[in-house]
């Protein structure tokens, strides 16, 4: 705890100093870098010390801080349990990586924009996110939550001279406040029943099923907007591309996860929900997962694609969460426990690999000055660092073995399979629906990132002559490499992160580790590592065999004069242009493009995606120009929210006469209200 407080103190002091020295780039960057490193390391120590405790028994030891004296409505009460610590872990890892990256990224904007304020706000965002994660009082939580929204708004609108960015920021602000409204109501109802705004007192209250369900729906709406569930996700694919890439990494890696944290926290407080709440969450997860990945597939702008894929990963996380809730409603502890642990683990893993992907997408845009995939191609050779790191990120996000994404997806599958085995008919149907959905999400995600990586980095450069791009500088490369290392480590030796996730799941279920969990989860994880190692050995064997077959038999060939025979008798490998069936005039524009790559899948799902291809057919023997335009409609944005807001706008125009603008009239309104209240009370 003391570590965390020192860390927050460092961040706060550093932000003030950065503001003071914001004129000098060197000083402010220096301050920012070292304060960030110091604070993050302290924070990580704090989180790990909680997660590594040998607490087999409950209650899990908590460290808390309660300030004497009361704010209006609440008190300053923070504590770190394993659930908070788990989220702190990913928060500090990611803000460290994104912050260091930010220094490298902002070099170009020196003198053009107010970088000092931006850096100071970055520190403050970390501080308020920590506060949200450790607050144990609803008022403090809400205050920190609101500050988090506002500070992140300023960070998102860094390019504030761009009309689109301002608009995206505004939509983000509106969406976040709509969510805040639901949260405020929820906490007020809970507080009224517990007659305290402290979470621990709320958790003693036994809520009736109806009330629990109502509170759950409010929490779902409020936190769901932040987490980006599918009908409420519309701010997400706008805000992410608008922000500088390292802010997108924070948004997607941490800020959205804070929404997931909120849901988990509400689950720890209320505990017993009716079954249909869990089922609803599972259905929403399926919708977000499949919808998110389909929209991601249809995007050709790299950061938009990543933003939509965030929605799909939130879907996967929520699948775990929903399974947990269903398991809890059936009193199947193992199902519930594995479900929650899977959700937590995927939260962590997604933060890491999506952070990596956003950062590498950022350095891609930094070098090429565009995010349009159709203009890129062949960048693997031109930007090797970015390319390799993006490849690692893509492999992880597709959930392929050897990388951390696989472990968490496997755990979600495991939870769902556990559900298929231990629940009744109803539970089996929904668990198996989850299995199918997760299978589909996995396949489509692989499709999506094969497209993203393949079109951007492989093949040939699509817009004209290849020229030299400037590779990302060291400040940008180091944090990306760090995240990539975590991806690989988490995929090969998953046991640590899984155990941390277990600690968190223990807090959510409020129970000890269920019996047999080690034979159900931990031993299989070791087995997975074993098979992966066997796979690596086979790979090494094949590589050596290949090397042997293609290597030169040096002594012999030199003497005999036949210059290039290999050991097995073959010639040297030949380097030549790709064979295009003897066609002569090939240009790089003739490669398969991103839209043509994703067309078959989009065609299959055309009816739900409103996938449309408009083209003019070239005519005559010497056809002139023609064009092709394919588009996909975001259903909730174009068919739900747009008409809704249009209606609201119309309605408010009708009610415009109430707002006259004269202070006196408003005073009169207040007077009216007071009179009405008085009459009501007298009555």
């Amino acid at each position: 705890m003391i570590f965390l407080l020192i860390s927050l103190f460092i961040l706060a002091m550093a932000s003030v100093l950065i503001l003071l020295f914001s004129r000098s780039r060197k000083t402010s960057s220096f301050l920012f870098l070292w304060s960030l490193i110091a604070a993050s390391l302290l924070g990580l120590c704090c989180a790990l010390s909680i997660l590594c405790q040998k607490t087999a028994t409950l209650p899990v030891f908590e460290q808390y801080l309660r300030l004497p004296g009361h704010f209006p409505l609440g008190e300053f009460y923070i504590s770190i349990d394993a659930l908070s610590a788990f989220f702190l872990l990913l928060l500090f890892i990611l803000s460290l990586a994104a912050g260091i990256y930010g220094i490298g990224y902002l070099r170009d904007y020196e003198g053009k924009r107010n970088v000092g304020v931006h850096l100071a706000l970055f520190h403050w965002l970390t501080i308020v996110m920590v506060l949200v994660l450790v607050a144990k009082n609803a008022v403090l939580f809400l205050a920190a939550w609101e500050l988090m929204t506002i500070i992140s708004y300023f960070l998102v609108t860094f390019y504030n001279d761009n009309e689109g960015v301002r608009k995206a920021g505004f939509i983000y602000l509106v969406a976040a406040h709509a969510g805040f409204f639901c949260l405020a109501i929820m906490f007020m109802v809970m507080g009224a029943h517990a007659s305290s705004m402290n979470f621990d007192q709320m958790s003693f209250v036994q809520f009736s099923p109806g009330l629990a369900a109502l509170l759950f729906i409010l929490a779902f709406l409020g936190f769901g907007v932040k987490a980006g569930f599918i009908p409420f996700h519309i701010w997400l694919p706008r805000a992410h591309p608008a922000a500088p890439s390292y802010i997108s990494a924070i948004l997607s890696g941490v800020l959205i996860k804070v929404g997931i944290y909120g849901l988990m926290r509400v689950i720890t407080i209320i505990k017993d929900f009716p079954l249909w709440c869990g089922i609803m969450l599972l259905m929403m997860a399926v919708l977000s997962g499949v919808g998110g990945v389909l929209y991601a597939l249809s995007q050709h702008e790299i950061k938009k694609l990543l933003a939509y894929s965030t929605i799909d990963n939130v879907g996967i996380i929520t699948l775990g969460l929903g399974t947990g809730m269903i398991g809890h409603a059936y009193h199947q502890d193992t199902v519930a426990f594995i479900g929650y642990a899977a959700a937590l683990l995927h939260t962590f893993n997604h933060a890491i690999f999506k952070g990596l992907l956003f950062l590498s997408a950022g350095s891609l845009i930094h070098s090429t000055h565009t995010g349009e995939m159709e203009r890129m191609g062949g960048l693997f050779k031109l930007l090797p660092w970015t390319g390799h790191l993006f490849l690692i990120g893509s492999l992880s996000i597709c959930g392929l073995p050897l990388f951390n994404g696989f472990i968490s997806e496997w755990l979600v599958f495991r939870a769902l399979l556990e559900g298929v085995f231990h629940l009744d008919l109803f539970g089996i149907i929904f668990s198996s629906l989850g299995i199918v959905a997760l299978g589909l999400i996995g396949g489509l995600a692989a499709f999506c990132f094969a497209k993203a990586f393949g079109i951007i980095f492989l093949g040939k450069y699509r817009s004209g002559e290849e020229h030299h791009f400037v590779e990302a500088n060291l400040f940008m490369r180091v944090p990306m490499a760090m995240l990539a290392a975590i991806c690989i480590f988490g995929g090969i030796f998953p046991i640590y992160t899984v155990l941390y996730a277990f600690r968190g799941a223990q807090v959510i279920t409020g129970m000890q580790l269920p019996e047999g969990i080690s034979s159900a989860i931990l031993i299989p994880l070791l087995m997975i590592t074993k098979v992966l190692m066997i796979g690596v050995i086979i790979f090494a064997f094949l590589a050596i065999l290949r090397k042997f077959l293609t290597s030169h038999f040096k002594g012999h060939s030199r003497e005999s004069g036949s210059s290039c025979r290999t050991l097995a008798g073959a010639r040297d490998p030949i380097q030549t242009e790709t064979w295009i069936c003897a066609y002569q005039h090939v240009t790089s524009r003739m490669q398969y493009s991103a839209s043509s790559f994703s067309k078959p899948v989009l065609k299959i799902f055309r009816s739900i995606l409103f996938f449309k291809v408009d083209t003019t057919i070239p005519k005559g023997y010497f056809p002139g120009k023609t064009k092709l335009n394919s588009s996909v409609k975001d259903v909730s944005q174009d068919l739900f929210f747009r008409p809704l807001f249009y209606a609201i706008k119309k309605l408010s125009r009708i009610l415009k006469w109430i707002q006259s603008g004269h202070t006196q009239v408003y005073v009169l309104y207040i007077l009216f209200l007071l009179v009405i209240l008085l009459i009501w009370k007298l009555h």
């Binding site: 199918v436 094969a450 299989p524 997975i528 790979f539 094949l542 490998p573």
Partner: protein, 305 residues
């Protein structure tokens, strides 16, 4: 020892299946056809050949065949063959099994895109599309089998778990078998989905993706293809024939006869059917999925009535 025998069968046997299919097709065409061991000769020949690499390609192109083959082999390690237990087995390995194939497919797609050729791009796109659809059917089939056997590992399911299922829920298993057979054809790019013998424009799925590979790389790919056919064939065979003598020699003998029979069946289908039109393939995949859904519903009704 058992592990060793398991590995021997896994390593040595697969290319023979391709030979049997070729022989069957030749028989239907009224030809003598290549010898049964032709695939082994091909592999040996390819190993000695030099490779041609595109100037566009990177190390991914060279590494992909190796990653692909090792992933498929790792999947083979999870699969019980005849009465030999899989060398590695654990609860939940069926998910891992499917994901290893996904890894193999993903790297092959990347290698195809690495050449920058639009033919290979087209093949990659189609392979990825059909891969998504076949994966969900595969997951559902495996879930059904797991539910019937009440086991979460492939060895648990196929060595004992399913023993009495044919008597209890025969119809379900028939549906699963049909669905798995369709998946076998799709995953191994056989007729009626794809034509393994050509890479012409109309059949551009799997073959066209490996168009630019040559030499050792191609040998790895051909071997990987045979291995994949063998492993998925074993999966299908193990569902159909659940009876075991508990005698390694007898079981292995019967297993080899069974899987050769499967290869002959594939050969017959290839000789007697035409390839489907590209836009009909998703329907075939969906029908595999629907078969497994129906099977699933039947189980639920049986188990809870």
């Amino acid at each position: 020892m058992n592990t060793f025998l398991h590995l021997i069968i896994l390593v040595v046997f697969p290319p023979l299946l391709l030979g049997i299919i070729g022989k069957t097709k030749a028989f239907f065409a009224g030809k003598i056809g290549p010898p049964l061991l032709q695939t082994y000769y091909d592999l040996f020949k390819l190993m000695q050949k030099a490779s041609v690499y595109s100037l566009t390609s990177n190390w991914i192109f060279k590494a992909a065949p190796m990653v692909c083959l090792s992933a498929i082999f790792a999947a083979g390690i999870l699969m019980p063959i005849a009465s030999f237990k899989a060398p590695v087995q654990f609860a939940g390995d069926l998910v891992f099994f499917v994901y290893l194939f996904a890894l193999a497919r993903f790297v092959t797609i990347l290698a195809a895109l690495d050449t920058g050729s639009s033919f290979e791009g087209m093949g990659a796109s189609r392979e990825a599309t059909f891969g998504c659809l076949s994966e969900i059917a595969m997951f559902l089939d495996l879930t059904i089998l797991a539910l019937l056997a009440q086991k979460l590992s492939l060895s648990g399911i196929f060595l004992g778990g399913l023993a009495s299922s044919w008597f209890l829920v025969g119809p379900v298993l028939i549906l699963v078998v049909v669905s798995l057979f369709l998946l076998l054809l799709v995953e191994n790019s056989r007729i009626p989905i794809d034509d393994p013998d050509t890479h012409l424009e109309l059949t551009m799925i799997h073959e066209v993706m490996v168009l630019d590979h040559s030499g050792v790389d191609l040998a790895y790919i051909v071997y990987g293809k045979a291995l994949k056919l063998f492993i998925l064939g074993t999966l299908l065979i193990s569902v159909i024939f659940t009876f075991r003598f508990h005698d390694h020699l007898m079981d292995t003998g019967f297993f080899i006869i069974e899987i050769m029979g499967l290869a002959v069946l594939i050969g017959i289908i290839e000789s007697t059917m035409a390839r489907l039109r590209m836009n009909k393939v998703p329907y075939l995949l969906l029908s595999a999925f629907i078969f497994s859904i129906i099977g699933f519903i039947v189980i639920l009704l049986r188990g809870h009535s």
